[in-house]
Amino acid sequence: MVMLWRKLLRDLRENWGANLACVLVIAMGIMAFNAFHMAVDNLDSARQRFYESCRFADGFATVKQMPVNRLSRLEEIPGIDQVQGHLRQDVTVYMPEWGQNLTLRLVGFEPEDTMGLNRVLQSQGAGLQEGSEEVLLGVGFAKAHGLKAGDAFDIIYQGEKHALTMAGTGQSPEFVYLVPDSGAMFSDAARFDVAFMTREALEDLTGQEGLVNEIAFTLRPGANFEQVKNQAAEILEPYELYSIVSAKDQISNFMLDQEITGVNATSNSIPAIFIAIAAFILYLMLRRMVEQQRVQIGTMKAFGFGNSQIILHYSMYGALIGATGALMGSIAGILVSGAMTDMYKLYFNLPDLVNIISFRYGLYGLAFAALPCLGAAFLGARSVLRLEPAQAMLPATPKRTRRLLIERVKVIWEPLGMMGRMALRNMFRNPGRSLFTLVGTSMAFSLMWFIFSYNLMIDLMIMNQLEDAQRFDFKVTLNQSAPARELEDALQRLEGTEAAEPLMYAAVTLRRGPYSEETAITGLPYQSELYSILDKGEEILPLPPEGLVLSKSVADKLNTKAGQLIYLESPYLADPVQVYVTAVVEQYFGMENFMARERLGQLLGIGDAASAAMVRTSGDRETVDRLEEKLLLAKGVAGVENKAAMEKMYKDLMAPMNSIIFAMTLVGVFTAFAVIYSTGTVSLSERQREISSSKVLGMTDGEIMTLLILENGILSFLGGLLGVPLTKALMLTMQKKFATELYSLPAQLDPVGLFYSLTCLGVALVLSMLAMMRRVRSLDLVVVLKTRE
């Protein structure tokens, strides 16, 4: 049936605008489908290969320290197979141009041990020399700082500088994803990475000979982690066991898993939304098309075309659009999966993480797009089956128009004017289509507002904290606590210090009834000048002189609220003490509990002690730099955090988000455009005759456009209104989905974002109206009015 195919192609060309919109919507969906699936496959297969070749362990424990010869006791546990321990130590890297926020996690290993667990894969450079201060650096760190094999750099360990030489780069399955213990939203290898040293070298550097603090073990076939966990914990308890987790919960693997399951979950649902939008547009278009081609269908039937041939002809219209979109989407998906895989390389330290193009997803995507489109077109066109050829030759019976309910409300109806009334009646003439426009625009609007609320979210989570709440320049952490008064005086005496306020961090266990939580309390100076507690990321909560300000997530775990008494346990205390919860503070990032420092010291019986201090500086750049270096090298100082560098780090991390925001905005605007334009064209073709008659009667193109703009404008505006609760729901869903121990997303919508998204919706409306304007102008009155409907 060559001629029918030709007709199909020409029908497609005739409607090219709406078709293109449809194709692009599908392409976006299939692009996401291909890209997400392929990128995740790349990640997953690279992980599997790495885990297998380097023997990722089944269980992981962290202790304060433990003699290496005691590890054999773990091997006696039935179910445990191989046990291995190593030393691990975080140190500050001395690179003044980066501020002092660079940390390396030094990890000891045995280069010769080929049967070990979590083996280190050397990816560049020469082997390590026994006992030398050489390291295999994390790939990301080396790259970010332009370090090559043979380069030396300084680290600071316990106030002393040590030079380390980079021998090459190394990767281990234990550190595929790396975040500091203090927590961070993203991994950032430029500031925190791992470096592998020989066991002896690390023991020499840290003076911890024969000791380990990290233990990994494998399970015997058939054994499971929960069975051995308690026994292992019992053996490790005397060495101050911090944590014992299975491979599943090991932080690096956990994060990798989260990414893989998260993307897997969206790799079908997001494309499905796009395909559903396109399928609905197609359904509307085909329904209209077969109405319009009624006589043609009748003629074909009169000539002996069977129902199956005709319905196939119209269904192929949908299938072709679906297939074209799928093809475009698949090609784009290959490119995007490459970009996503490259991005994964930044966050996940995996050897041979490469973009493997899998045509399988192209095929699945083709079916995923073409079948629903074929189905939608079939449903849209199925009325041709019922159409008897003789009946098809007669004009269709006009649809019955009814008065609207609103017409009875004279107060509203009368002032509407003729235009408004016509617009309203048209909206109700085809309620299904109006509903689609409404839902489509509200979805696009929600997507945009959600995206535009991102900046507020980051402000509430991080930036407000850094910019408003923390009014210091450095935070100095001590190795051991010291009297607060002395620390403050010592800091005040330094050149460049404008103000200094000591802090006390105390690890505690809080209990209330059956609930307990291991956490820490930050002792802040009462009426601190340099720090404010922020509630919900923006409101300042004054620190009460007495009692405890609990983080909301801790309060929830303890099932407590302000005004209740809870128990506090601490290594400093023989017996638990009672303390009042005076306030609960909701934090989006981290979970800190606060108390006045003096009161905390009293409670713990350690006097007014401090384990850290905030310092505000004054003076020129040089003075400040000198002060920072002096602090860093001071005896007893464990680390110095530079707030400006921290701010810069977050801003750097957020920078790539801007292009994502931009891309998502485009997707939103385009989706709204596609919905308004395609439903608009369908409605326009339905009313060609009516519009042409109006033009003949003397209505100008402008007046006709006013009518169309009014109709679509009202629908888009209502779509926006409907989008408000939808966005809120989207926010809450995301908040639930992404809440972790460390952070939760604020479900706050940015009013500025509302303005932006309304503007974008307006842009989509204007664009679609301009495209329709072209069609209204080019209506050939004579042809339209002469054609039999």
Partner: protein, 233 residues
């Protein structure tokens, strides 16, 4: 000559708020190669008759045989095949597919049958060879109707059913169309049935069916059918 169509008491009633008897007990036989003119005012049941004969519509009661095959009890599939192989339709408003060119419109029909006529030869015969690649909108009414006739003829059907084929044309072009139909009838032996409300065309047919209020009031026979050129309207 063999009987190609035979009807017995063909009746069509349109049910609705008011039942309309569009065709009432029509009984007749049509011989192969006959040229029949169906005459009657609007609403007399001409189109209903044509639609039923062409397998486009079903009678409410009565019988219709095409070469002894009962069309009145044909399945939808059989009706489709009947329309495909036995019948060629020509409509008042041509009903060419606007998206296909003149020759493509003809080829569309040709693709339906195993042994179609040669499309190019047909176009040349009609002196429309140079218009072959024009779209319907680029053709005059007469040209469009000639293409429509070619489209009906290309399938090589036994019967050509024409619903007011000159209704939308002026005299001169209408004449061309009628001549073409007569040629198909005479040279190729096609059975042709033309519906019209134009009395003067009656002279062209071998027989004339006079319809009124759904009934065949009278069937007249022309011993000597005239050439279209002798007709004046």
């Amino acid at each position: 000559m063999a009987v190609i169509l035979r009807s017995e008491d063909l009746t069509k009633i349109y049910e609705g708020e008011v039942s309309v008897v569009a065709l009432n007990s029509a009984s007749f036989e049509i011989q192969e190669g006959e040229f029949i003119v169906v005459l009657g005012p609007s609403g007399s049941g001409k189109s209903t008759l044509l639609n039923i004969l062409g397998g486009m519509d079903r009678p409410t009661s009565g019988k219709l045989y095409y070469r002894d095959k009962p069309i009145h009890e044909a399945t939808a599939r059989q009706l489709t095949l009947y329309r495909r192989k036995a019948v060629g339709f020509v409509f008042q408003f041509y009903n060419l597919l606007p998206n296909l060119t003149a020759s493509e419109n003809i080829r569309l029909a040709a693709e339906l049958v195993e042994k179609p006529m040669d499309v190019k030869a047909l176009l040349d015969d009609l002196e429309l060879g140079e218009k072959a690649d024009n779209f319907p909108a680029q053709l005059s009414g007469g040209q469009q109707q000639r293409i429509a006739i070619a489209r009906a003829a290309v399938k090589n059907p036994d019967i050509l059913l024409c619903d007011e084929p000159t209704g939308a044309l002026d005299f001169a072009t209408g004449l061309q169309v009628l001549k073409l139909l007569q040629e198909l009838n005479k040279k190729m032996g096609k059975t042709v049935m033309i519906i019209t409300h134009n009395q003067s065309m009656a002279a062209m047919g071998n027989r004339v069916f006079h319809l009124k209020d759904g009934r065949i009031e009278q069937i007249t026979v022309n011993e000597k059918p005239v050439d279209p050129e002798e007709i004046v309207w």
